[in-house]
Structure formats: structure tokens, C-alpha cells
């Protein structure tokens, strides 16, 4: 709230982002909890090695015991001693469409989560706070479903070829023109898998001799694509524009490491909404920096397309910027459109180049026709071209739900990370036992949530992540909030000290250790 003045009036609306600091007592107690579990982990490993207890996890065969050990690193230790104890909160099988409410198959474990058996019962109408269903297009009724069913009966389900061979359908051409029009770019290309869009196209855009500046908390697909490309990767602190500017200055001044030649290309990789933090990228500042230092910008709008902006066109519209300023606009159809796949939009020369040189176009099977039709129908719905105002209503409903939910949770006293306008709401849990307890207690109260721990988050910052949807009615949100309040009191999760800590915008240098001021 205090820092709009500092960056030259680039923001047309207030940018409210907060990451409340972990209370000291909570951090200490979290380490105590992990310490106790580690000690018991060592005890159990000892018992398993000396055959006092039956070993149920994967180990090497008897003949291989003298070779280099395979399961001795921290990840495997964590997996068999900590993750196994709370494993029943993940991989829960659902048996209906993941809309606002979902049905789940009940399962029990008789040997402490090593094996699961299904009781045969189906838990019905669980309020779904975990699916990426931002605009509520995950439906098995309605216009999208009818159109997809018609296309399924016309084209079938499989394409049986890569895009460059025989897999280029007229539906794909129609989709790409529509997506380009939706985003406001010259041209777009669609791929069958969102993860593969990132990991297969970044290697086509940059190579050896180029520089990639990637945000600290980028998704695994961006990291994989950057590593596969062979370019030099430098990381800047999460959403920290001073850190990014310092890296850009150093890159321009010093050039490549040994030869001091200028970099062939500098590519900045950022995401629209970061799904683990709920933070929104500072796009006006990134674009200003990009123009000043003549580099390129790759924006991954996986979570923000459809979810931000007055008409759902993503983070570029949210800040009121020109889509032509972003060189490569990438996004996925998985989250807001209820389908699967990804797209890349940009200038016509760029997309024509990608059509020839992308690994995904050459080797991966193209998108299935019913999925394409689902995307076409949902994009037309959002744009309002199907003749109704359903799309506009959904976008507004999502924004209202977001504001209401975040405000109520903050009032209750939970620590919530991220931007005020992002539909991804991480609620901090911190202690390992509370991860398992929260998931189980919420399921008992018929609410399905996603809890996240190590290694997706730093080890003490485990959280529960709520994904809001336009399909959630106010009654559902009120029920969910009531239950979260109860569980928060039961498990003592209301850690917030309600101190408004403004984000610091002073120049970043080597003496800056803390991002926030106490």
C-alpha cells in the first residue's frame, strides 16, 4: 500500500500483497516437531535394518546391499518416515466431475498408510476447495458438454498423429485463431499438455549463449524447460524487481562468463499467479525493466488466464497493459477452461517458428477434438460471443468470491499469503502434524482441501491451499468458512498477529537481508 509512489506511477490500481512473517514460537515448535519425527525416523530405520520390524518400503535386493545405497538421501528418509504417516491426505480418488461439489471414494488403512482398502462407500457432495476450477467450467452438463459430445461423435477421441504429420485438424486452426483473438496477440499455437508446452518450447526459443532470468518460485515445467535448453540460468528473488534489475545490469555489463561477449538473448521467465504463494507478478515493473534493458519476457499465465482481469483475459488486462509488450504469452487450458493443454501466443513470426521447431509440435500427439471443442465453447462463453452474459457473470462471481473469502479468513486471524485479488489462497499450517490433522478434519466435515508440505514448499512453511471457483455459491463459501473457523480453533491455527507489515521497496544490495521491516 505504501510503495505505489516509489515506482513512478506504473500501477493504475493498488497492489496489495502480504507475506506475514512466521511467528518465532511457531517456527521453534515446528522444528521441535520435525526433530521428534526425525528421531523416531532413525529409530524405525534402525528397527527395519535389524529386522525387528517388517520393511514395507522399497529397498535394494540382498545381492545389491554392498553397492552404492539408493535410498539413503533425505528425500527417501522423509518419504518413508514422515510422508507415509500423513499420506492419506493425498491421491484421494474422486468419482464425479470435479465441480463445486465432488464425490469421493472412502478408503481406510489398517497398517498406517502403507496400503489402502476401499470400504465401497462413496462420500457424496464434498465441497471442493482444491480443484483448479476458477470459472466453473468443469461440468458434465451445459453448452460446453453438448458441443464436446457432438464433436466426439463427429471426430472421435483420438488424433493418432503429431501436429506436423497428420494431426492438424481444422478444429485446431479454429482454436488457435480464437485464442489469438481472446488474448489480443497476432497468432497462437495450442499444445496437448500444459507442462509439455513449457518444457518443450523454451528449448526451442533459447539455447547455449543465452541467459535466462527465472523467478525463485517458478513452476517445475519452467525450470525443466530452462535446464533442457542449455542456456545459463540465474535466479532472482521472488517478485523482487530490485534483484531482477541488478541481475540485468550485471548481465549487460559483464556479458557471458569467460569470453565477455554480449549475451545472444536475455529471457525473463515469470508466472502470472504463483500457485503456491498466491502472489501476482509485478508485471508493469517487469515490462519497464524489459524495455530498458532490451530483453524478452516469457509470461506463464497458467493460473491467471480466465481468473484475473475485468473480462478474464489474464494478468495483462488486470494491470491494463498492452499484450504486445509481452513477447511470449503462455498459458494452460487446464485451470479456467475445464479442458487440458496449453498455448503460446505472440507475434506471427514467433509462432510460425515454433510450429516448425517446437519439440511438442514435431513429436507429441495433438489435442483431442472434444477437448478442443470444450476450449472453444468456454472461450466464446467468456468473451460473450455465445450471446449470453454467463461468462462475464462467472468472472465477476470469481472476483467477488475471492475478495469475500480472503477478507473473512484474514478477519478470523489466519496467516494468508499472497495478493488480495488472487483466487489461490494459501493458509499457513507450519507444523507437520497439523498438515495431516487439517486434511483429515476437513474431510470429516465434508470439505476437500489440498494440503502441501515439503518438498513443494520450504520445510517449515507447509500450508493448505484453497482454490476458489465461480461455481462456489455464497452458501458453500459460508459453510466452508464456518468449518475452517472450527478447525482453526481446534488445531490452534490462528497465528496472525494482525500487524500490517508493508513490503519494503528500498534498493536491493548485499546488505539487504530482510525483505520486510519489523
Amino acid at each position: 500500500i505504501n510503495h505505489i509512489v516509489h515506482n513512478g506511477g506504473l500501477y493504475k490500481r493498488p497492489f496489495n500483497e502480504a507475506f506475514e512473517e512466521t511467528p518465532m514460537l511457531v517456527a521453534v515448535l515446528t522444528y521441535v516437531g520435525y526433530g521428534v519425527l526425525t528421531l523416531f525416523g532413525y529409530l524405525r530405520d534402525f528397527m527395519r535394518q535389524w529386522k525387528i520390524e517388517k520393511c514395507q518400503n522399497a529397498t535394494e535386493r540382498e545381492e545389491q546391499k554392498d553397492f552404492v545405497p539408493l535410498y539413503q538421501d533425505f528425500e527417501n528418509f522423509y518419504n518413508r518416515n514422515l510422508y507415509m504417516r500423513i499420506r492419506d491426505s493425498w491421491n484421494r480418488p474422486i468419482c464425479s466431475v470435479p465441480g463445486a461439489k465432488v464425490d469421493m471414494m472412502e478408503r481406510v488403512s489398517h497398517d498406517y498408510n502403507w496400503t489402502f482398502t476401499y470400504t465401497g462407500r462413496v462420500i457424496k457432495d464434498i465441497i471442493n476447495m482444491g480443484s483448479y476450477n476458477y470459472l466453473g467450467f468443469a461440468q458434465n452438463t451445459g453448452a460446453c458438454q453438448e458441443a464436446a459430445a457432438k464433436v466426439l461423435s463427429q471426430y472421435g477421441a483420438g488424433v493418432c498423429s503429431a501436429r506436423q504429420e497428420m494431426g492438424n485438424l481444422d478444429k485446431h486452426e479454429e482454436l488457435e485463431k480464437l485464442v489469438a483473438r481472446f488474448l489480443g496477440v497476432e497468432s497462437a499455437m495450442a499444445y496437448g499438455m500444459g507442462f509439455a508446452t513449457n518444457s518443450m518450447n523454451i528449448p526451442a526459443l533459447v539455447g547455449k549463449g543465452c541467459l535466462i532470468l527465472s523467478d525463485e518460485l517458478n513452476h517445475a515445467s519452467l525450470v525443466l524447460g530452462a535446464r533442457l535448453s542449455g542456456a545459463t540460468i540465474r535466479i532472482f528473488k521472488h517478485n523482487n524487481m530490485q534483484s531482477l534489475e541488478k541481475l540485468l545490469k550485471d548481465a549487460i555489463v559483464h556479458g557471458q562468463p569467460r569470453t565477455r561477449r554480449p549475451w545472444k538473448k536475455i529471457l525473463i521467465l515469470v508466472e502470472g499467479i504463483y500457485s503456491m504463494e498466491g502472489s501476482i507478478v509485478r508485471l508493469p515493473e517487469v515490462i519497464a525493466l524489459k524495455k530498458k534493458y532490451k530483453s524478452y519476457l516469457y509470461l506463464d499465465e497458467a493460473h491467471s488466464i480466465g481468473a484475473l482481469g475485468p473480462s478474464g483475459r489474464g494478468v495483462v488486462e488486470y494491470f491494463g497493459l498492452n499484450p504486445e509488450d509481452v513477447d511470449v504469452m503462455m498459458g494452460t487450458f487446464t485451470k479456467s477452461f475445464g479442458a487440458a493443454g496449453g498455448y503460446i501466443g505472440g507475434k506471427k513470426e514467433l509462432i510460425d517458428y515454433l510450429r516448425t521447431y517446437s519439440h511438442s509440435a514435431a513429436y507429441a500427439t495433438s489435442m483431442s477434438p472434444p477437448v478442443v471443442e470444450q476450449i472453444i465453447t468456454s472461450v466464446k462463453c467468456i468473451m460473450g460471443e455465445d450471446g449470453t452474459t454467463v461468462g462475464e457473470a462467472r468472472v465477476q462471481q470469481l472476483a467477488e468470491n475471492t475478495r469475500y473469502f480472503r477478507r473473512r479468513l484474514k478477519e478470523m486471524g489466519f496467516i494468508i499469503y499472497g495478493n488480495e485479488d488472487s483466487p489461490v489462497v494459501p493458509l499457513m499450517l507450519y507444523m507437520p502434524a497439523k498438515i495431516g490433522a487439517f486434511g483429515r478434519e476437513m474431510l470429516k466435515r465434508n470439505i476437500g482441501v489440498v494440503v502441501v508440505g515439503f518438498p513443494a514448499t520450504p520445510i517449515i512453511e507447509s500450508r493448505a491451499r484453497f482454490c476458489l471457483s465461480a461455481a462456489h455459491t455464497k452458501e458453500m463459501l459460508d459453510t466452508a468458512l464456518k468449518e475452517i473457523n472450527e478447525v482453526g480453533d481446534l488445531l490452534q491455527l490462528k497465528y496472525s498477529r494482525r500487524r500490517l507489515v508493508p513490503l519494503l521497496d528500498r534498493p536491493f544490495d548485499e546488505t539487504t537481508y530482510e525483505e520486510t521491516e519489523d
Partner: protein, 80 residues
């Protein structure tokens, strides 16, 4: 005060202890091991508090009880 010592409140406190020390996640035999270790440590702490500090505590208490009668004279006589 009454609300604080009801059985349900004590049970809730015990649940918080379980959650913080992660004994909520342990199997029953691990819980037995952990609680017995904790109890042994707590008893040891209490015993050593009594054994080492009892002498100092009694003289401190004597000093305290002498204050209501005559603040200056009695206090000096004890300290001497």
C-alpha cells in the same frame, strides 16, 4: 478458573501437545515410548529442582516471611 480445569479443556490441551510434538502421527507403541520418555525427563527435572534448590528456597522463604513483622531489622538478622 473453573472453565480452565474442565476435563474437555485439559483434553484439548493434551491434543495441542500431541499436535506440536507430532505424537498425533505416531503409532501406539511409539506414543508409549515417547510419553514414558517425556514423563521420566519431567520427573527427573522435578527431583533435581527439589534437591538442588530446596536449601536456597527455604532460606528465601524465611526472608519473605520476616518482612510483614519488621521490614529492616528482621531481614538483616536473617541475612547475617
Amino acid at each position: 478458573m473453573d472453565v480452565k480445569s474442565t476435563p474437555s479443556y485439559l483434553y484439548w490441551l493434551f491434543c495441542q501437545f500431541e499436535l506440536i510434538t507430532c505424537s498425533y502421527l505416531m503409532e501406539p507403541w511409539e506414543k508409549v515410548l515417547f510419553y514414558s520418555f517425556n514423563l521420566a525427563l519431567a520427573l527427573l527435572l522435578l527431583y533435581f529442582t527439589y534437591a538442588c534448590l530446596a536449601a536456597q528456597a527455604s532460606s528465601a522463604l524465611q526472608l519473605l516471611w520476616s518482612f510483614p513483622a519488621n521490614p529492616r531489622e528482621n531481614a538483616l538478622s536473617v541475612v547475617k
